[in-house]
Assembly symmetry: C2
Homo-oligomer: 470 residues x 2
Amino acid sequence: MFEKEVYSARRKALLERLSGEKGIALFIGNVDAPCQYKDNSYKWRQDSSWLYLFGIDEPRLAATIDLETGEETLYGDDFSLDDIIWMGPMPSVRCLADRAGIARTAPYDAIGAAIQGRRVHFLPTSRYATRLKLGALLGIDPELTTSQGKAGCPLASTPLVKALISLRLVKDSREIERIEAACNLGYEMHTAARRGIRPGRIEQEIVGAMEGVTLAKGWGTSFPTILTQHGEIFHCHSHEMPVEPGKLMVVDAGAETNDHYASDFTRTYPTAGRFSPRQRDIYQTVYECNELAFNMIKPGVQYRDVHLAVAAHMLDNLRQLGLVQGDVDGMVADGLAGLFMPHGLGHNMGLDVHDMEDLGENLVGYDDDQTRSPQLGLGSLRMARRLQPGNVLTDEPGIYFIPALIEQWKQDGTDGGRVNYAKLAGYYDFGGIRLEDDVLVTPEGARRLGQKRLPIAPDEVEAAMREDQQ
Amino acid sequence: MFEKEVYSARRKALLERLSGEKGIALFIGNVDAPCQYKDNSYKWRQDSSWLYLFGIDEPRLAATIDLETGEETLYGDDFSLDDIIWMGPMPSVRCLADRAGIARTAPYDAIGAAIQGRRVHFLPTSRYATRLKLGALLGIDPELTTSQGKAGCPLASTPLVKALISLRLVKDSREIERIEAACNLGYEMHTAARRGIRPGRIEQEIVGAMEGVTLAKGWGTSFPTILTQHGEIFHCHSHEMPVEPGKLMVVDAGAETNDHYASDFTRTYPTAGRFSPRQRDIYQTVYECNELAFNMIKPGVQYRDVHLAVAAHMLDNLRQLGLVQGDVDGMVADGLAGLFMPHGLGHNMGLDVHDMEDLGENLVGYDDDQTRSPQLGLGSLRMARRLQPGNVLTDEPGIYFIPALIEQWKQDGTDGGRVNYAKLAGYYDFGGIRLEDDVLVTPEGARRLGQKRLPIAPDEVEAAMREDQQ
């Protein structure tokens, strides 16, 4: 937790951006999320917007900010002696409020009376417990307190959501220092993973070694680890396969610090320690796309345009490999890149690895004058905005050969005759490649976060793997 | 997952125990539990009762068993091509039903129509998503679908809960084999922890190394790891302290296998590698209590009586140390042991580390003719029942010096003049000691689970720590 002045200043900035709004802003902190039963909960994780505005990393708290008077109240209950026997000495609610610079405190059950008769501004949430709580407090269907797909939540307060996003989008030096700490821990995780890639080992053993590294120094992983020889399956969380020589191992994982800032890196390794010529061709293309994107990042550039430039470079290279044919600009316009990269180039990152995603993808990632494309790939772009200094985002191009998707395009003629399906059929066992860095937008351009960069150029990767084996 | 015949047989046994009941039994499997946002969920964990009856380790499924006709239905939705791009080829609901031996399938949203107008028997749940789902399906307050304290859930079906408990309490050879696998993994975890105890290391580094071991081979930990030099704080999940020589480190942790069976062990280590005389006195007492309990375990014995025998032995030893005075039987009857061991001797263990706790503590742990004591310590006993062959339970005595609790007893005179508070004051910096094994009740008596037993006798512990340092 930072000093209390940090949180007071953030809330003051929020209030200023909401000047003229009537009513009261209500923030519900997280409670423990039971896994098997009440006393066996998942690892405690506070809500990220709560952490940003109040910093208090304790369960079962709520807060209000009166948008008309600026009055701030923290709601919570002090612990009983029984609690203290089980949990040790705990700070009082008054003490927690002091840490966050909040003047007033009240019992948790006083929230209802405090919002009675007021226009209530709340943030959407995916947490089921908070949905239930908001539903009960506001007398609305709990399902309507959560973001409905990418568009956000119709009953949440758009002014509040937009004001908070505008603040959280721009990281200050304190936050950048913490994100960089997460990146350094991510470097250690990925190094452990790369060293674990030995033919015959079960993927899960590598995951365990890697996650042990982040648990030893941080909160844990910033999202469920992807470590798979089926890189073409994006959310493959199965880790049962033994490492087979000749495959590509996609490792997409990040660390979360004890104070809850995230990192997120992807590297792809030839399990044999060396790329085959076919693997190297595709890898080189993805690597060039990663570099191209990084070199374009600077204030004022729309990240959507960076995505499209990457799509063009990728299609141009794939054309040279004979996998597609035709005019590159036309292919980009028609969304052909989506067949090979059916995801976006990157996302914001901060207290959440997909920063603020609970608030609604479009509100977070799109400027008011931008609309989201319906195309495969570009349509999944989570961050399209004009870049500003202090933005932190990922640069993660990838190429995948997804048999089910290719077969569907072939059947539907989606490609307008520009895909060489006969040649593509030879790639059905290829898997996928993704290469991801975390990037800070600076006043001058961009800086990759983390003290050291994970090996990424094809020769560097092979050299590192040779060294690992020694 | 076992063969489908296992699950069919369990459901048949359940149905037989419910013969004469009217209506339909409804089982809601778990959905993913969002942590920060919808696509960043906590690690997937199926509901344990669902795993026991159906075995299918996939989210967003439900099932009904018609108690009048025996008809079984699995509710779920097949995946779209979009899902398959992100998640890889997925089995159909029909295929999942076959694996569990279920004849009928239906879409997920058909549950409502299937239970319309029927008496619905459901199990209580702590999962907020399931509370919401049951609330919506049954038109009841979601808060009333969860166990209210130890007494269970008033709206859930007591006949269904009791029938299921009677089955899950007795583990068959397949389950024992899996629990033993969890115990073997727990042995590896604890060995890694013991080896990590070096002055100056941060507790969290030891936790990370330990949890990496279980993530490499199993689902993860079976509950949040306790690793603390403040053993007197039962649920101390803070791991910020460096290891200080002269302290006692309580390590209470267990593994969960990939098929979700649990282990749960506690050992307490002198951080200096050797016990001080004062530490050794208390340790020896806890060790004797652990042995005493194990030697009493056999079919027909009430585990509550084992708890009381442990309390008597503990008080007798503490009397010899001059910490209490008076007649041991009288002290046991008046609950004096609760000052030193304010928890129960053990709990059932299986698919949950506190097995079935979501179904209601009293229904799980107490025979119909037993009532729960209101005393501190004995009142926290989770397993009091007459033991049966196939029960798996923990044997975990402990002695703690909890300054806040001692001060309260002193002030209230709770001890009836039998505690030597002057002498006790010298133990305020002692911490606590707990020693826990996992035990199977056999037809003849008891067997400790796990191929090897973690060092536990004081000399064994010191010898193992000497070896670790070499």
